[in-house]
């Protein structure tokens, strides 16, 4: 689905890899390694200084930016909801493409395990966990082919984080989504991912199956990272 060829964008240097459809990829590595930068390259919130990125076989620049961003949904670390109600937030993406009438807002809340009574709730009255669920539902409302998740549970307490994990686990399974998630939580990585990309010092150090990488790291950098 995505192919990165020799991509450089500080702090990343010459990173190459391919993501196939329905891959559940966990991106991990030390802080400042360029994980979020890499995520932003996927839906063109940033462009690489060097190298090429291909999406569904074509160079990423050949896809109209707005429709690419719709297909490659991003959930940020903090929910960053828009002022208004939950419904306003769910509508935002589809309304940009005149597709809101084809969506079922109740179904969207169901995906993230929230009752439909939440639709009329003002977003500033929601808890952190609820806001993150709405943020996830807002991205899903665009019916993306791929889901990018930038540490979606890092700002939440353990209990709420596990709830969100439950939501993600069943969602990815049901929707057959391709997923790329940044996380520092290796337990979460094991639970949600089937493939891992370990980035350190701006370079891709390891690419493999999550259990293999975590149980038997093949590079010194990854062993050190896991020991921390």
């Amino acid at each position: 689905m995505f192919r990165f060829e020799n991509v450089s964008q500080p702090p990343l240097q010459h990173v190459s890899f391919t993501i196939e459809e329905r891959d559940k990829v966990i991106l991990f590595g030390p802080s400042g390694a360029g994980k979020s930068t890499l995520l932003y390259l996927f839906n063109r919130l940033r462009d690489p200084e060097e190298g090429s990125i291909y999406f569904q076989g074509d160079p990423i620049e050949d896809h109209p930016i707005s429709s690419l961003r719709k297909k490659v949904g991003l959930v940020l670390q903090a929910p960053h909801l828009f002022p208004g109600t939950v419904l306003d937030n769910l509508k935002y993406g589809p309304a940009l493409f005149n597709e809101w009438d084809q969506r079922d807002p109740k179904k969207l809340l169901e995906y993230v395990q929230l009752p439909s009574s939440f639709l009329e709730r003002e977003v500033d009255q929601l808890s952190g966990g609820e806001q993150q669920r709405v943020s996830l539902a807002r991205t899903l409302a665009n019916e993306p082919d791929m889901l990018l998740l930038d540490e979606p549970t890092s700002a939440l307490d353990n209990r709420t984080a596990e709830d969100i994990e439950d939501v993600l686990e069943s969602l990815i399974e049901e929707q057959q989504l391709t997923m790329l998630m940044v996380t520092h939580n290796m337990r979460q990585a094991r639970r949600l991912g089937n493939r891992g990309l370990f980035i350190s010092d701006g370079a891709l150090q390891e690419d493999g199956r999550i259990p293999d990488m975590l149980d038997a790291p093949s590079t010194e950098a990854l062993s050190q990272f896991l020991e921390q």
């Binding site: 462009d47 930016i65 707005s66 719709k70 909801l81 807002r138 991205t139």
Partner: protein, 262 residues
């Protein structure tokens, strides 16, 4: 009857300078030099502008008005620009905004016979309109920059969902305009109740009938109200786009913004 202030009386104004000066001395505020300098500078500036205005008022309106309004527009443009120096095309945007505001207000005044096309009327009133518009533009630029910084996450969220820069910055444009308009609405609401507006006070002191003074004040207050609104809207609507690059990406560093200027 219009009161005359003699030069001797004027000399006693030094008392008003001595008070803050002695305050600065006793409390060691270290402001004596700037108090003295600003008082002298202010006095010289005012006398100079007094002589310039006397000269301009004697010129035919077709010469005096464009000359002085032109100078005011240029000075106001450079002053307002200070608040958004790093933004591309800020100078022409501010200048055209101020020019449009001034020309439309002047057109209204003359078309509906509110003001006579004489330097003694048009120049001071234009000064008030341009001055207030300049402040509104500067504040809007500053506010907009802050809004972009504070709402970075929301902007990224909107863009990542496929929003165009215009759609993504809708909230910021709304907040900026709100901030620019609210103080004006409040000022108009309390006009005459909290303080007598400057122009009206000046006219009454100059011997004009209070009702006539109020009519002039209304003309200028409402003109300023609308100019400030147009100025804030103009600068916000024309400048938000420079916070994005041509790939609908948010420009996050000043260096990147600098590179957009070329």
């Amino acid at each position: 009857m219009s009161p005359e202030i003699s030069n001797q009386s004027l000399l006693f104004l030094i008392v008003f300078v001595l008070i803050p000066l002695s305050l600065s001395y006793f409390y060691q505020l270290g402001m004596s030099k700037s108090i003295l300098w600003s008082s002298i500078r202010g006095t010289v500036q005012l006398f100079a502008i007094g002589y310039i205005l006397t000269y301009l008022f004697d010129l035919p309106p077709g010469v005096g008005i464009p000359l002085m309004v032109g100078i005011m527009l240029i000075i106001a443009t450079f002053h307002a620009r200070q608040k958004g120096k790093e933004l591309p095309h800020v100078l022409p945007v501010i200048f055209s905004g101020l020019l449009i505001v001034e020309v439309s207000v002047l057109f209204m005044w003359l078309a509906f016979d509110m003001v006579e096309f004489a330097p003694s009327e048009v120049i001071p009133m234009s000064g008030m309109v341009i001055g207030n518009s300049m402040v509104a533009m500067g504040l809007s630029l500053e506010r907009m920059k802050n809004e972009f910084k504070q709402n970075n996450g929301q902007l990224l969220a909107a863009l990542s969902l496929g929003a165009e820069p215009k759609q993504a910055s809708h909230l910021i444009v709304r907040n900026t305009l709100n901030a620019a308009l609210i103080p004006n609405v409040d000022r108009i609401k309390t006009i005459g109740l909290v303080q007598l507006p400057g122009m009206m006070t000046g006219l009454i002191l100059g011997g004009v009938d209070p009702v006539m003074a109020i009519k002039y004040q209304l003309v200028i207050s409402l003109s300023i109200f609308s100019s400030v609104s147009i100025s804030a809207m103009f600068v916000t609507i024309f400048m938000y786009r420079y916070f994005f690059n041509e790939h609908k990406q948010l420009i996050e560093s000043e260096e990147e913004m600098e590179s957009q200027r070329s």
